[in-house]
């Protein structure tokens, strides 16, 4: 809409010519300038500028709906990808929503990739089995994708489906894995993908993980310069989600607090953080910063403490702050408690990582995983 051409907006011809003569061709060009600049540039008086801007704005303005119409539309077209975890689906009122960014954040090895693999599987499943019957694009930046593990998850979760001849291969075929090695490659593949998304019935986009693309060197440059390659990707991902109405799941890493962090406003004064309850965030925080945190719609935090792992719904427009304990099994992630625990206060944003001794796990060490997990419950 921003690139709508002024020549097509029905302005009086004299005005239209003046705009194009000064190289103001799209509504973005016209609306980015203050009134006085337009007056000087186009050599017209303020009343004409105002009426032209009003006409351009009316043409550029997106159409409106009432919230009732919105809800009815959503109910018709369905809006969620069920995660197959009833407690989580209940909390999110259906599952991972279409058209929005969902973020999974947590320390390494906690189970984010397992969750993503399960989601990919669920999206590829035929509709009669509760899936979306579509293709999945899995952008794997850390080479964590394992098709063997995915098949194992499939066989454990839906044994009867996977015994059907050829279904497993068909499903594996509809999951496209992309492995970019730099952020520019990532952006390029996203651009190419835009067409694919529209043509080829892609029903889920997973980026695992986003943070790995940005190089964390020790240079404490301004955070804006470190994150600016991400900004383009961020708005692009959001626009993909909106236009294609598909769920977009992104994983994020954690990092320790740096001195740049702050959690207080000026009016709160300079509190000395002596009590541990104030520094609930302990030493870990989500990577990619606060601007990214604002941009995602749903944030699920994976953490480990007191001998258990938890999925916390930290940011969601529709869910109260709840935490579900979970384990990683052969069939992917399983919730231990479908009701979840309400989490009070800012603890919902904390990321703790106690009891995780090792980094990554792969399918071979799945047995080791359960052994170590049992041991860690005694720590």
């Amino acid at each position: 809409m921003a690139n709508k051409l002024i020549s097509q907006m029905g302005l009086p011809p004299s005005l239209s010519h003046v705009f194009s003569a000064r190289n103001i061709l799209t509504s973005k060009d016209a609306l980015s300038l203050p009134e006085l600049d337009l007056m000087a540039l186009l050599d017209i008086d303020i009343a004409s500028v105002r009426s032209a801007v009003a006409r351009i704005s009316e043409a550029t303005c997106p159409p409106f709906q009432t919230a009732l119409a919105l809800m009815e539309e959503k109910m018709k077209s369905g809006g969620y990808l069920s995660t197959s975890l009833p407690g989580l689906d209940n909390a999110l009122c259906g599952g991972i929503p279409f058209g929005a960014l969902t973020e999974l954040v947590g320390p390494s090895g906690i189970g984010k990739t397992q969750f993503c693999l399960k989601l990919a599987l669920l999206a590829a499943l035929p509709e009669c089995y509760g899936g979306l019957n579509g293709r999945v694009i899995y952008i794997d930046t850390e080479s964590k994708f394992s098709s063997r593990r995915m098949i194992e998850i499939g066989e454990s979760s839906f044994p009867q489906i996977f015994r059907i001849q050829g279904l497993a291969q068909k499903m594996a075929g509809s999951i496209i894995v992309v492995r970019p090695t730099s952020i520019s490659e990532f952006n390029d593949s996203l651009q190419q993908m835009k067409l694919t998304l529209l043509q080829n019935e892609v029903k889920l986009l997973i980026v695992d993980s986003m943070a790995a693309l940005v190089s964390w060197d020790n240079d404490k440059g301004t955070s804006s310069s470190r994150l600016s390659p991400l900004r383009g990707s961020l708005s692009f991902l959001k626009s993909i989600a909106e236009f294609s109405r598909i769920p977009v799941v992104v994983t994020n890493q954690v990092r320790s607090h740096s001195n740049d962090e702050s959690f207080h406003y000026i009016f709160q004064g300079h509190k000395k953080d002596t009590s541990s309850s104030e520094r609930i965030e302990s030493h870990l925080t989500a990577a990619l910063g606060i601007q990214w945190a604002h941009a995602v719609t749903i944030r699920l935090i994976f953490e480990a403490h007191s001998g258990h792992r938890f999925i916390k719904v930290a940011k969601s427009p529709i869910s109260p702050p709840v935490a579900f304990p979970f384990v990683v099994e052969a069939s992917g992630i399983t919730l231990l408690n479908q009701e979840g625990f309400g989490v009070a206060g800012s603890e919902i944003n904390a990321i703790r990582c106690q009891g995780l001794i090792f980094g990554k796990c792969n399918i071979a060490s799945r047995l080791l995983l359960s052994v170590v997990f049992t041991c860690s419950s005694y720590t």
């Binding site: 203050p34 009134e35 006085l36 600049d37 007056m39 000087a40 540039l41 303020i46 000026i266 009016f267 004064g269």
Partner: protein, 301 residues
């Protein structure tokens, strides 16, 4: 040629002699020419020019007509040597929530309370709060009986006029209107206008300056000149507020740039320390007093 009244008394003090030797004229004479007809009528220049004044006449005008208007906040009044001077433009600059609007509202209340005249408040951010004004009024005389309070409240608040302004062209139109009305009519519903507040002038000017063309700077200068002209000719004090923008190294500096700096006669910087329940005012520029002095003041709720 100047029509001069002779000095009333012989005075040989050095200051007086110096002042007598200074002839002054306002800028208006230089600009106010009707160019197309000057060539035909050489005397027209004389008709449009204001008379020359000696320094003594200026001094007596200042003493008699250019009073100090109190703001109601003791620290600031002391800092300014009495208050806001009529005939001058005072600027208050400060970061967000430092108390600029409060100073404006307080001044409006006190000036009317002490019967200096009426106040015109031009508001660009819908911050004019009649509720707040009524609280200021009640603070001045807390121990009056109810009917008396009500009567005072009505009397004071009926002399404060508020108008919302949202763009620079409306502001200029408004100021021209004010100027011509003041020329023809002296009274404003019973009281003479003595204080003109614009809160905040920077939000009107900031969107027009900084572009590639210089029209914006030109209009900013015109606003400054027009305000000072109205102030001087009609013995009004003009109070404007300005906000702050980021400067180098993360410090804040007043908005509107270097060209605006010389326009107000007096500039005060407000700051509010967290934790302390008072605010601080610093003099950035003053015509009579030294700059750099600070004072604390308290705004009561």
């Amino acid at each position: 040629m100047a029509a001069k009244a002779p000095l009333e008394e012989e005075d040989t003090k050095p200051q007086t002699l110096l002042l007598t030797g200074i002839l002054s004229n306002t800028y208006r004479a230089c600009i106010n020419t009707a160019a197309p007809s000057t060539a035909q009528n050489p005397h027209v220049t004389e008709d449009f020019r204001l008379p020359w004044l000696t320094g003594m006449e200026l001094l007596s005008d200042t003493n008699q007509n250019k009073h100090f208007l109190p703001t109601g906040l003791q620290g600031i009044d002391a800092l300014l040597g009495g208050g806001l001077r009529e005939g001058q433009m005072t600027e208050i600059v400060g970061p967000s929530s430092s108390g600029k609007t409060q100073v404006c509202l307080s001044s409006a209340t006190y000036v009317v309370d002490k019967k200096f005249g009426a106040v015109l408040y031009l508001d660009t951010s819908n911050s004019f709060s009649p509720n707040r004004i009524s609280r200021f009024v009640n603070q001045t005389h807390p121990s009056l009986p109810k009917e008396e309070k009500e009567r005072r409240l009505q009397m004071i608040m009926s002399n404060i006029y508020c108008q919302s302004v949202f763009d620079i062209f409306s502001l200029l139109d408004l100021l021209h209107h004010v100027e011509s009305t003041l020329k023809h009519t002296v009274k404003l519903g019973g009281s003479k206008l003595c204080l003109l507040i614009i809160d905040s002038v920077s939000s009107l000017i900031a969107p027009i300056i900084g572009g590639k063309n210089s029209q914006g700077w030109c209009m900013m200068a015109s606003v400054g000149v027009l305000l000072k002209k109205i102030a001087y000719e009609h013995n009004i004090s003009v109070l404007v507020t300005n906000h702050m923008v980021g400067g180098e190294n993360g410090t804040l500096k007043p908005a509107l740039g270097e060209s605006w700096k010389c326009i107000p006669h007096v500039r005060l910087l407000l700051s509010c320390c967290i934790g302390a329940n008072h605010s601080t005012a610093t003099v950035l520029k003053h015509t009579l007093l030294a700059s750099g002095r600070t004072a604390n003041f308290v705004i009561h709720n």
